[in-house]
Structure formats: structure tokens, C-alpha cells
Amino acid sequence: EAGVTQFPSHSVIEKGQTVTLRCDPISGHDNLYWYRRVMGKEIKFLLHFVKESKQDESGMPNNRFLAERTGGTYSTLKVQPAELEDSGVYFCASSQGTDYGYTFGSGTRLTVV
């Protein structure tokens, strides 16, 4: 079984540019989550999809962040325009039900310069 795949693994962009992160969950997992870890801090919840529907986006920092999951398969997280404080590692995770544990991807390390 393939795990959760994230692309790219690293991205370095200039302040003001746009970046799109992609997550492919484990096949059959309806639940998809985005989390972020800013350097040295805790891993923080961003949002939760069930299939293509956003169930909870309470952790999204501001309206520069847009997450989508068209067709309930892969998800994208777009940051536009990027700011310096957006730097960090963005993790995606998926699960079958919400009672089950998550499987995390390896993350995308975003550096905004």
C-alpha cells in the first residue's frame, strides 16, 4: 500500500510569490488533514477534509491560504502571496475514519526568502 505522498519535498520561493503544495492520500482514505510545523514549534492543525468537503478549516492562518480537494482524491494547499512567516514544514495526513490513527506524509519544507 502506497503511503501519503507529498510534492514537492522542498520549495524555496521569494516573498510575494505563489506556491502550491500537493498531497496524495492513501487510496480509500476519505479523511485528509493538513498540518504545519514552524521551526522549533509544535505541529499545528490547519484543516480537515472529508472527501471533497472542508469539515474544519479553523487552523488556517489567514486568507492567503487556500486548500482544495477536487473529486475527493488529492489535495492542494496554495499560499498566495507567500510571506516570510509562512516558512515551515507542511504535513499532510490521511485516515479511513476519524477514530483511526493518521498516516502522515514526509512533508513539504517551504522556505520563503
Partner: protein, 114 residues
Amino acid sequence: DQQVKQNSPSLSVQEGRISILNCDYTNSMFDYFLWYKKYPAEGPTFLISISSIKDKNEDGRFTVFLNKSAKHLSLHIVPSQPGDSAVYFCAVKNSGGSNYKLTFGKGTLLTVNP
């Protein structure tokens, strides 16, 4: 305001000895507790969990202890091996509320020396 605190940023132990990682939480509504292990350039991987109805859960070399009155949990690794060297994250959730949402601590870097 941090709801989950791992007060030791790092811990170093000798191979074969016990590693004890600690975690404190503030909200008594949390009722499910997990430990994740993370190697560099990888995502967190689930290690062990415990429900609030228990005070101990064991899986091989790993044991998690829960003290609800103190809002404290700990992870014991015995015996520690060099391959256990990683960052360990404590995570909690409220299974009655937003049961999909994990709240993490900042992590403890464990180094097991050969």
C-alpha cells in the same frame, strides 16, 4: 497558549538504559493520547496510544503511562536502542468533540548513544 507541553527539548541516554519522555496537558477534556516518532526528513509515525480509561498501555519496548489527575503522560522505552534516536511528539485529542484534530507538543529529541 500551549495546551500540550513537552518541557524537555532533548534527552540523551545510553544504549540499553531506559528513556523516559514526559508530556503535560492543560485541558481535562482531552481523553485520547498518542505518541509519534519522527526521523529527519520524514513525517511523524504513530508509535503508541492510550485512552483515558486506562493508566498504562504497553507495546513491546514501549509503555505509555497516563496520570489523569496530574494531566501528565510519559513514554518509557526499555531498553533504548540507537535506532530509537528521533524526535518524539506527544499528541492529544478530545474524542467527544473535534475527534479528528490532534494537538501536538513541541517534541523531544531523543539521542541514544551506543
